[in-house]
Symmetry: C2
Amino acid sequence: AEKQREISVSEFFVKNRHLLGFDNKQKALLTAVRECVDNSLDACEEAGILPELRIEIRELAEERFRIAVEDNGPGIVKAQIPKIFGKLLYGSKFHRLKQQRGQQGIGVSAAGMYGQLTTGKPVTIVSRTSPQAAPHLFEVTVDTRKNQPLVLKEEKTEWEKAHGTRVEIEMEASYKKGRRSVDDYVEQTALSNPHCRVLYSPPGQETITYERAVHELPEEAKEIKPHPYGVELGRLMRMFQDSQDRHISTALKNDFSRLTPKVVDDILKIAGVSPKARPRDLDTPAIERVHKAFTKVKIMAPPTNCLSPVGEEALLKGLRLRFKADYYDAVTRPPAVYRGNPFQVEVALAHGGSLPAEELIEVFRFANRVPLQYQASACAVTKAVLSVDWRSYGMQMSKGALPTGPMVLMLHIASVWVPFTSESKEAIAHYPEIVKELRLALMEVGRRLGLHIRRGKREAAEAKKR
Amino acid sequence: AEKQREISVSEFFVKNRHLLGFDNKQKALLTAVRECVDNSLDACEEAGILPELRIEIRELAEERFRIAVEDNGPGIVKAQIPKIFGKLLYGSKFHRLKQQRGQQGIGVSAAGMYGQLTTGKPVTIVSRTSPQAAPHLFEVTVDTRKNQPLVLKEEKTEWEKAHGTRVEIEMEASYKKGRRSVDDYVEQTALSNPHCRVLYSPPGQETITYERAVHELPEEAKEIKPHPYGVELGRLMRMFQDSQDRHISTALKNDFSRLTPKVVDDILKIAGVSPKARPRDLDTPAIERVHKAFTKVKIMAPPTNCLSPVGEEALLKGLRLRFKADYYDAVTRPPAVYRGNPFQVEVALAHGGSLPAEELIEVFRFANRVPLQYQASACAVTKAVLSVDWRSYGMQMSKGALPTGPMVLMLHIASVWVPFTSESKEAIAHYPEIVKELRLALMEVGRRLGLHIRRGKREAAEAKKR
Ligand SMILES: Nc1ncnc2c1ncn2[C@@H]1O[C@H](COP(=O)(O)OP(=O)(O)OP(=O)(O)O)[C@@H](O)[C@H]1O
Ligand SMILES: Nc1ncnc2c1ncn2[C@@H]1O[C@H](COP(=O)(O)OP(=O)(O)OP(=O)(O)O)[C@@H](O)[C@H]1O
Ligand SMILES: [Mg+2]
Ligand SMILES: [Mg+2]
């Protein structure tokens, strides 16, 4: 009987801004820029536009910055601007299974909310959907008590761009150079998105231009239905309840990826359910039998076109550009599934050369092409690297630590839904299927590295004899 | 203009059940039991009742369990039962600053939702608020599309208890013994809550009874107002906007902890704001000046009565019961503040004796008296332990790994709001103030350990000479 109350999503996340990646001032700058850049790249790619991004960071006072991210994307219709920027859990990417950088409907509203929390200032948005449409300027804040947008300003404006979006946020932040800096993030982003042109203006410095290295968009990942493997019973029950199909056989074919008519027949036979049964009328025991039958038939792996891996060639090229090693290797695993979600793991490795031999190895992590700069210790990627016995491949490794040696590892997970350890999207959750795939990829390149290291030692030993 | 949609909290957390601690079957069992036990302990302590808990885990089929947690607490009024169990972000603990195990309004609804997701079964609740009131039985599910409860059953029932609550959840889970098992959790919980009597029935085994070791409740932590240190500008603006006080001087005294009339006068003088100004009428520049002035005056540390640390004596006693070492030490730091939230760090250490000398040290973590069993690598506690140079205290330590040696560390953080790395409440977020306090506590016991180890080596060396 105590004061039981509803808690709004925005109230919850103000109190928990560390869950969104805003735990300290240096990270806040990086997270805000990343959320805006991710949105711009997603929007351009979805609209079939070669992205051109402008990223500006101005220092207004000590620890007070104004960031601006501008793109040449499709723009946002004015009716949607308030909710997109002023409401958490609102967006276009959550309800479909498609590999994109964004997925939660939180990112940019969270960045704006952090700006508002630390400076009281609204987010400023300028957007235009076509040369015929007028550009609009908005100033939006989040009413954190109700998770609703408050529009402080809305007006037509002048803008030289034909279409696109510009987002400005004033916030308390800290700008540092070097490792995990926003400079490093912008550079890594430009390198891993060679189809994008980036004009980057760091505080008090000349604009740096990263020109396009390729002039076509990467193959766009297709949206798909969930794969049956790993879908929970309760989710299946929900899908059948919501299904408009008259027959369960049609529902299964339509609602899932890789359920061919033959496989659907087998499933329903094993489950003892008529193909003509109406999905909404099935009782729980019948749905349980269908759910069990999923695991008793052979279902094809998901189609590769729903994922957009970087590819071994591009991974090797990226490694060679950044590191002077004497051995390079890469592997892209075939698609796998966890909880109905297709995913794909890739690993690239560089060894020897001018890499420091007495240091712990460096591990670079990416998810859906976005570099992960924080929470390495929480990440499934790190867990997988630590779980491999690198000594069996000829490297030094103390208990409980990364191996020591002249090596760089780059790991990428592509998925229609990346399971992160928190809403800040900084580290990968430890789903067993994902850790398993990471280990398989690591052991594959590890074995080949082992051969290389052994061969190197043999040759060194023979050279010594002569 | 793509399909922009609102995402319900429950939909979001179904897709992200790993954020709630339900990523795999073994963890799911532990998380569900923990969320129910936490609620029972909080409820009993708040109502001034010496807790008696019954924890039952029945195996219905392979990987299918029915858990039940029953308490002798104050019970829940029937009007509130649907929302408490069928709606996420609904509870009595979020909006007040008081040290309790629960804080988010998510825990038990998440456990029920996971049960429903994996078995389709509702949560069953029996509750009674007094011998005069009739016990009520409910079966509740979460309508995940709308984050609303669905009551499948509601009826008066018979129950021998005078008051209390019984929660039953059927779920897919896995029961393992040993490290991080639910048996281990129940034992640790009984040990760290000596005022609680626990009857524990593991699957297919005899009931284990943990009798009370003490017969009074621990000192209850007082609810407080936020401390000014670390409160963000936007939060201050919100507080003034919502304030019913006619004068800012009254608002400051009432809305914050440790703002005495003298300190309030100083703050307003420095800020150039009249004590009679109405909080709602202050403009942003004025509030910014007040916000800056907070950092220019000396404000007392928070009162100790808003935190309930375990205490050095109880920590040492707990260590001595569990480990046969030859050296024990403990320290409880004074209260500190991060983001307006008082918190307190305690560390206990055991060394030597029969602890294994060639293993990495063991680290036990607690938050608000709840053992944290997972995500050690993500935790600020682990980060703090790794950041201390244990070699300077005479221990072995490889780069990037925990120290090696016959040592156990137990760390506890008590706070009015514990910042966790995700909604599963498994690891502590890395707020700089918290990591700093952890390090200070660790270095304090580390230094004393160093003296002890050096003395031991000296004595061994002298003994050798003779
Ligand atoms: N620059 C942009 N151009 C076009 N559309 C955009 C742009 N930025 C955001 N949007 C739209 O606004 C929606 C909400 O963005 P937001 O960053 O809050 O969430 P998200 O990208 O869907 O998920 P996440 O929380 O993972 O970032 C997006 O789904 C997208 O449809
Ligand atoms: N056994 C119980 N006896 C009395 N009240 C209870 C009991 N269990 C839950 N409640 C009430 O239900 C509310 C919601 O519980 P829930 O576990 O969902 O959230 P919480 O405990 O507030 O926070 P958290 O998500 O951190 O656990 C609690 O705040 C408490 O008021
Ligand atoms: Mg986004
Ligand atoms: Mg709870």
